[in-house]
């Protein structure tokens, strides 16, 4: 469906997109992740033709899109800041794309009703967009982008302002919808749960480049670099020297899975792989801040003369703050990261 070849966009000296190559197959849902300012929105804008490129090509269904005006590319884009039309009511905003594609009045009214129901705003057709809450505006923007059923739909943080339960419902329904329609989707999100729930593939961006690309499970289980690991929220990353099945780190010897790369590398220990036991049993640490995370608790552990460790444990196993504990590592939860 979509392929980018060495797509480059520069603002002044800085490159917001730096020779990005990307392939998105038909009917796939691809999520773009990356820190704030890494070029995610710029990527979508470049594909849409809204952002002139300083180099490279955008191909849609094999066709070079250079010179094809935005409205002829047959794609949809939901903007990060919505950009609802202030002078139109909710219904007219959603119906806009349908009108542009020559839909009839009855047809378009029906679609608008359906879509507003989908996003949880049934009957909101005649409301003024300025009188909507932030999340309601986001949902109208989503409905507007969905309405014309573009072959390639790009969503820039489509659910960012919604609460978890609504978001989870929408993720499921959108996935079903996209599968039904065979829509190809390129979605920016900063919510990893969303990315995992929605995406067939994820693309992690860093400073205008693609840092890693793969299936969600893949990326999660095998972050390609310390950057990706840290970005995914893993803080237990440390330089290590791997020899065979063991890695020498600041936390002592850590077992690593079979077949891990050898030598000077970065090592990741997932919090779930930090096992808390008796003080005499392993690396001695003092228990620091405990953060309650819904189902689990993460605990900050401070070893002597080594970087802080983060551990995850069930509510009832949580050690007391200030207690001294011993830490061992679970080989299954350690990952040797290919160097940067």
């Amino acid at each position: 469906m979509l392929s980018l070849e060495a797509a480059t966009v520069r603002f002044g000296k800085r490159a917001a997109l730096d020779a990005v190559d990307l392939e998105v197959a038909d009917h796939r849902i691809v999520c773009v992740l990356g820190p704030s300012g890494s070029g995610k929105s710029t990527l979508l804008r470049a594909v849409a033709g809204l952002q002139p490129m300083d180099g490279g090509r955008v191909l849609l269904a094999g066709q070079d899109q250079a010179g094809v005006p935005v409205h002829r590319r047959g794609l949809g884009l939901m903007f990060q800041d919505h950009q609802l039309f202030p002078h139109r009511d909710v219904g007219a905003n959603v119906a806009f794309g349908l009108r542009m594609h020559g839909a009839g009045r009855a047809e378009s009214e029906r679609r608008v009703r359906e879509l507003l129901e989908l996003v949880g705003l049934p009957g909101a057709e005649r409301r003024a967009v300025a009188a909507l809450s932030g999340g309601e505006q986001q949902r109208v923007a989503l409905a507007r982008a969905l309405a014309p059923r573009p072959r390639l739909l790009m969503l820039d943080e489509p659910l960012g302002q919604l609460d978890r339960s609504l978001r989870e419902r929408l993720v499921v329904e959108l996935r079903t919808l996209f599968q039904e329609l065979g829509t190809t989707v390129l979605a920016v999100t900063h919510d990893q749960g969303e990315a995992f729930a929605l995406a067939d593939r994820v693309v992690v961006m860093r400073d205008g480049r693609i840092a890693q690309e793969g299936s969600p499970l893949d990326v999660w289980q095998h972050p390609a670099s310390a950057f990706v690991a840290r970005f995914l929220g893993f803080d237990n990353v440390t330089p290590a020297t791997v020899t065979g099945r063991a890695a020498a780190t600041a936390w002592g010897k850590v077992p690593v899975p079979e077949g891990s790369p050898q030598g000077e590398v970065d090592l990741l220990v997932r919090p779930a792989g930090v096992l808390i036991g008796a003080p005499e049993d392993g690396l001695r640490c003092t228990v620091g801040v405990r953060t309650f995370r819904g189902n689990h608790v993460t605990v900050r552990l401070t070893p002597e003369n080594a970087p802080v460790l983060e551990a995850e444990c069930a509510l009832r196993d949580t050690p007391d703050e200030g207690a001294v504990v011993g830490v061992r590592f679970d080989e299954a939860e350690t990952v040797v990261l290919a160097g940067e």
Binding site: P69, V70, H71, D81, P86, H87
Partner: protein, 537 residues
């Protein structure tokens, strides 16, 4: 862009440069020496100085008085708002002679101030300044108010929660956003007052004179084209300087703004402060605009046998007198409306195209064109009129005796209004909205129609209102060209005033009242025109 450029080339640049060229060229050689000669005449320098400073003072005073009005009209809902907005525009169409009358009645001998405090302002600069405010109040209220009502009030709220008081929030957040509109309004007011003619003569007395008067005298009375040409060039220079200042200040301020639906931003005033502001603005409008207009209305009813419709009846019978002097007033209304309608359409088309082109393009050439569009406001009607005579004399453009010249000349004044009221809003439209339309499948033209147009709808209506009012009230060019059998209302008023006799004067007042009514009603109807709001499905 081609249409406006052609329009201006044919109907402005060519005629004006022809007449100026004729003045400066003797026997085929340019006589630039004339410039120095005229410019060293002390009386001309006096006139130039007076013209400039009174225009600056008038502009400042108008902004000072009208900006609160713009705020009130943009942000408050109150009964009669639409009517009042139409009424404050009425002065715009009135012949200056008639306005002079009204102001003398208030500021002169036996006027309100004279009776109350024994103060007479006629023949002082104050009378001139106040009359200029009277004329141009609506320019500020409408051009600035149009954008203001679409500004997102949350911007100001953001400043308030950061500790800014009401005024500080306005000055630091709203004013910069309004900057281009304020500058546009100020520019227009400046140009009007810089070229002010009748007001200065009547209220200031013969001792006060503007460049415009000199140009008129030299051209129309004395046919001293060389002097007139130099003066026109001087006006050009002054107007050009102001345009340059305007361009520089505005360019730095133009930003995409978050525009919202104006219906969402106005509400009833709350708290004593807001009520006081509303009261103050209404009182100002009452004293400064309604009262002078009221004087005219009063006089139109004040017949020899007490109050009544005597003069209006006389107007009616005048139609049957079998003279070429007067036509039935209804016919004059019809003529005025027809001319004004055509002129408005021309101005909207030419100005709209120009504004659209100016929004998207930048560069020196475009900026130059932008400035050129404003020049008609700074050039005497006589210059343009005489220019027409010596240029539009060959087929297919032998328009010298054609009625179309009237709306064309009027449109020339209307176009700057259209451009200046539309541009600040168009330039404030966030490009991303157009992008949103594009990704939803709208071609650039369609996006303009679907996004820009609804957002500038207000500005277009304001512009159309002004173009219409300007045309309705235009006198300087119309009187040259209008056929005697179809005079417009201001021409008919002027004819009546040119005669002694009580009935003539009374009828002039009655006709002026009709003119005001026609203007107010037209503007009200115009405001009722609603392009699609909620969008067709």
């Amino acid at each position: 862009m081609a249409v406006p450029v052609a329009f201006f080339a044919v109907f402005f640049a060519y005629p004006v440069s022809a007449i100026v060229g004729r003045g400066l060229k003797t026997d085929g050689t340019w006589q630039f020496g004339r410039v120095g000669e005229v410019l060293t005449r002390p009386d001309i320098l006096d006139v130039l100085w007076f013209t400039t400073w009174q225009a600056l003072a008038s502009t400042a005073l108008t902004l000072l008085i009208a900006l609160p009005g713009a705020y009130v009209f943009a942000r408050f809902d109150f009964p009669g708002k639409q009517v009042l907005r139409a009424v404050v525009t009425v002065p715009f169409v009135l012949p200056t002679v008639v306005v002079g009358t009204a102001f003398l009645a208030l500021l002169g001998r036996g006027g309100l101030l004279d009776e109350l405090w024994g103060v007479r302002l006629d023949t002082t600069v104050w009378a001139i300044l106040l009359a200029h405010v009277f004329f141009n109040y609506a320019v500020v209220v409408r051009t600035v108010g149009g954008l203001w009502s679409q500004l997102d009030p949350r911007q100001e709220e953001a400043a308030r929660v950061l500790g800014a008081g009401r005024f500080a929030a306005w000055r630091r957040v709203t004013l910069p956003a309004l900057g281009p509109a304020v500058a546009a309004a100020a520019l227009m007011v400046f140009l009007f007052t810089f070229t002010s003619f009748g007001v200065v003569q009547i209220l200031g007395g013969p001792a006060h004179s503007t460049l415009e008067v000199e140009v008129y005298r030299q051209t129309a009375l004395l046919l001293d084209l060389p002097t007139a040409a130099v003066l026109t060039l001087v006006q050009f220079a002054a107007v050009g300087a102001i345009l340059a200042v305007h361009a520089v200040t505005v360019r730095r301020r133009e930003r995409a703004l978050k525009l919202v639906d104006p219906a969402q931003t106005s509400r009833r005033p709350q708290g004593p402060g807001q009520w006081a502001l509303l009261g103050g603005v209404l009182l100002t409008a009452l004293l400064l605009i309604l009262l002078p207009l009221g004087v005219l209305v009063e006089r139109s009813f004040d017949g020899p046998g007490g109050y009544g419709f005597g003069y209006y009846e006389a107007l009616q019978s005048a139609g049957g007198s079998g003279s070429t002097f007067l036509v039935p007033p209804l016919e004059a209304v019809g003529n005025s409306l027809r001319y004004a309608f055509i002129a408005t359409v021309i101005a909207l088309v030419v100005g709209g195209l120009a504004a659209a082109a100016l929004t998207r393009r930048a560069g020196r050439l475009v900026r130059g064109f932008d400035a050129l569009l404003m020049l008609p406001l700074g050039v005497s009607a006589v210059t343009v009129g005489f220019g027409f005579l010596i240029t539009l004399d060959k087929p297919p453009l032998d328009l010298r005796t054609s009625w179309i010249l009237v709306p064309l000349a009027q449109a020339l004044v209307g176009v700057p209004f259209v451009v200046r009221t539309m541009l600040p809003v168009l330039r404030a439209v966030d490009e991303r909205l157009r992008e949103a339309a594009a990704v939803l499948g709208a071609s650039p033209l369609r996006a303009w129609r679907e996004v820009d147009l609804p957002l500038v709808r207000r500005a277009v209506l304001v512009a159309a209102g002004f173009a219409f009012a300007v045309s309705l009230g235009e006198f300087g060019a119309t009187v040259f060209i209008a056929r005697p059998d179809n005079p417009t209302l201001p021409v008919a008023v002027a004819r009546l005033l040119g005669r002694s006799g009580e009935l003539n004067y009374g009828q002039a007042m009655a006709l002026s009242t009709i003119l005001m009514l026609v203007c107010a009603v037209s503007l009200l109807l115009l405001e009722r025109i609603r392009t699609d709001r909620s969008g067709e499905f």
